[in-house]
Amino acid sequence: MRALAATWCSAWLDAWANRRSFWTQLVVMTINDSVWVLFWILFFHRIGEVRGWDTEKMLLLFAILTTAAGIALGVFANARKVGQLAGDGELDATLTLPVDPLAHLLARRIDPSLIGDLAFGPILFALAGGPTPERIALFIVGSLCGAIVLTGFLIAAGSLTLFVGGRGEQADLAFQAALILASYPIDFFGGVTKILLFTAVPAAFISSLPAELVDSFTFQTTATLLGSAAFFSLLGIALFRLGMRRYASGAVWTRA
């Protein structure tokens, strides 16, 4: 744990080394998120409630999504890069250290723009999510579960690079699909698409289900969310570990 904490601190120092860039990225992402909030407010103002979703519930979903994405892509920024790093043979330096390579990789890079998401989500929840002690606790649990699902899913998709080759293109597709689809309430979809959002692209577990948990708590939703978080994290770890047996390194110039 001491090694992981130190790695994480170094990642913060590394991101913080260029402060202007850090703050610029953070502010731009916050503006981007604010535009989305404005869009949803105008949308529901004009259209009214859609399949049980109104402005308040939508902003709750968005607060959870930005928090979960902020953790998965901002704090554990390499979750999205595992495939690319493996494909480019850039794991060598990590593998020469006495550390768990996946944990080390996840801790070793911070993405300031997504930290903007992480700052934005809780503020949006505080302003529009009707925070009560119970809802705050559920917001934290829901966001963490969403972050774990997204992290595990991205690692699993990136680890496929170790089996099928390439430079982590699957992870880019998975990242785009998961974030875009998680931006909309699950009830907007139906049929096969809805099934896919609980399986192949687990967008439902990243935002809609956590929002459901905060809005109307049930043990079943809690268990489903915790189960999905456990499943996708284990899937990511298992695929990464299996894939590392096939890691082929590389001969590119890199900063590790």
Partner: protein
Amino acid sequence: MLAIEVDRLTKSFVLPSKRIVEAVRAITLSVEQGERLAYIGPNGAGKSTSIKILTGILHPTTGDAQVLGFVPWRQRKELARNIGVLFGQRSQLWFQLTPMQSYKLLGAIYGLSREELERRIDEYGSLLEAAALFDIPVRNLSLGQRMRCELTASLLHSPRVLFLDEPTIGLDLVAKQRFRELIVRLNEHKGTTVFLTSHDVSDIEQVAKRVIVINHGQIIYDDKVSVMKRSLLRTKLMEVRFDEPPGAIDIDGVQVLKSTDMGFKLSVDTEARSIKHVLDELLDRYSVGDISVLDPPLEEVISKIYETPRR
């Protein structure tokens, strides 16, 4: 006692075209603790692949290996605590941070106490004459300065074996020379086993005592550097300065490589004519002012070995 034992180690890669390439083919070798070994070969010979297997980065296709008693690909973490790895083309240091910040992280990773870490940073800072560089962001260091800081990073946990993969690549002559001296000093002071790959012949001559040549994934030569130079050469070089112009030099087995009015560089085929015989003839037939007998450059020796046909 052996530091490295390798038995019929093979590594194959499957290319996107489905073609299978054997980067390392049934390599067997052993390295004693405290040895300074150069592991050389032309581009694509399998050197880096071998090092990556021995450091636990790659899994071999078949074969066995132990480094300090650890099987690298099964006991990677345990092994990493006991070896140092320096890739000339890879960096262990964080680009935006100072070396000191990276060392603190490495101290935490290797479980060193604060006092122990500071002591070792001081020790290597002084040994490598690099202490003044430790508080400068890595992005602002020259390549030579960075390599000294990289070497410090790879030594902080006092490794018993040091793997160096083209460590002097890109360094200027002075930096290279200093780097070689440091490696030798480390080996002599601490008994650290050195496993070095390099394309720079001077690295091999000045650092290594033993050389293994690998080509097409197979070991094609394994002996002392001095023996390699002597046994593989059937030519010697002679630099002769005459007191008066000698005219044409016509001695069996002797070829003129370069000449000025009074100075000649000759190549002697020692299988055709012994050095003693050539010297006697030169002294008998010409007025010789000065003469020296040299080994040909190591490059020539290595080129000859590289040209060995694939088995």
